[in-house]
Assembly symmetry: C2
């Protein structure tokens, strides 16, 4: 038997497998490089998109605030010309507009009826009161939530223990 | 080595290459899978991050608007009690605060001195005027830019051709 043929017959399956593996290898490297490039591009785009999104989110609110600023400037003109009725109307209008704008953004006032709640209230004072102990008796600064987050707790005065009708000393 | 020496000698180079290729292949598949998983995770996280970023961008401005809302409500109380001086002071304060807030966001008024510029001005009227033809002679509504974008063009009156001192018929 010529050495060639013997050799060929013996190594044929391995050569075929080698070729297949080499081809597969090349394909894998190709796929890997393309995926890496896609990933890199995605990352770059995501970064640009985020900057644009943040800019746009701010821009949208700023744009909505322009009419509020307009109303305010009209109210200021009324100040200059001492048109009190117009000024009052103007201030009410500005307030309504700003309130509506913020409501659309998801802003809601914190409830202050009832018991003191440390999650949404901040107690600045405790005062003896005829109200139930631990209830909110006065709001010093309104609190607000945005969605389910407390943006600012309400600053409140809380009812302390009820005073005895005759007082301690009696 | 305990294996058939003759056999090993004959097939060694191909077997070694086969083993190397198989190992390389496995490694490539492994790398590919990990990269794919990283990519998927990155994509999911980027999506969540974007939502959070937009929410936070809005939240930041909303939070900054709370003191403006407070000032406005104090001004409204002055309306109720007809304390005109306080109301006027209040409106000026609200205006200053809102203006500063919007400036920090990058808002700037559109210039209206000089020639009409269709990029930043909207001409509502053309009027004969002593001013140079094509110059802005009155601002009906202020315009604003945010960074290099025009958020709202200034609505203006533009000077038409100068009237001849003696009139057309003279």
């Amino acid at each position: 038997m010529p050495e060639d043929v013997e050799n060929q017959e013996e190594t044929a399956p391995e050569v075929i497998e080698l070729d297949a593996l080499r081809a597969e290898n090349e394909e894998l490297i190709d796929t890997l490089q393309r995926l890496q490039a896609d990933f890199d591009n995605y990352r770059k785009r995501a970064m640009r998109d985020q900057e644009a999104l943040v800019a746009r989110a701010g821009e949208r609110i700023v744009k909505e605030l322009l009419p509020v600023l307009d109303d305010l400037e009209r109210a200021l003109e009324a100040v200059e010309s001492h048109e009190e009725a117009e000024l009052e109307e103007g201030v009410k209008l500005v307030h309504r507009h700003l309130e509506q704008l913020l409501e659309r953004e998801g802003l809601a006032p914190v409830e202050t009826d009832g018991k003191f709640d440390p999650h949404v209230h901040e107690a600045l004072l405790t005062q003896p009161s005829e109200s139930d102990e631990g209830s909110v008796i006065e709001v010093l600064q309104k609190g607000y939530r945005l969605g389910d987050r407390v943006l600012r707790p309400a600053r409140v005065v809380v009812a302390g223990p009820k005073e005895e009708p005759d007082g301690d000393a009696a």
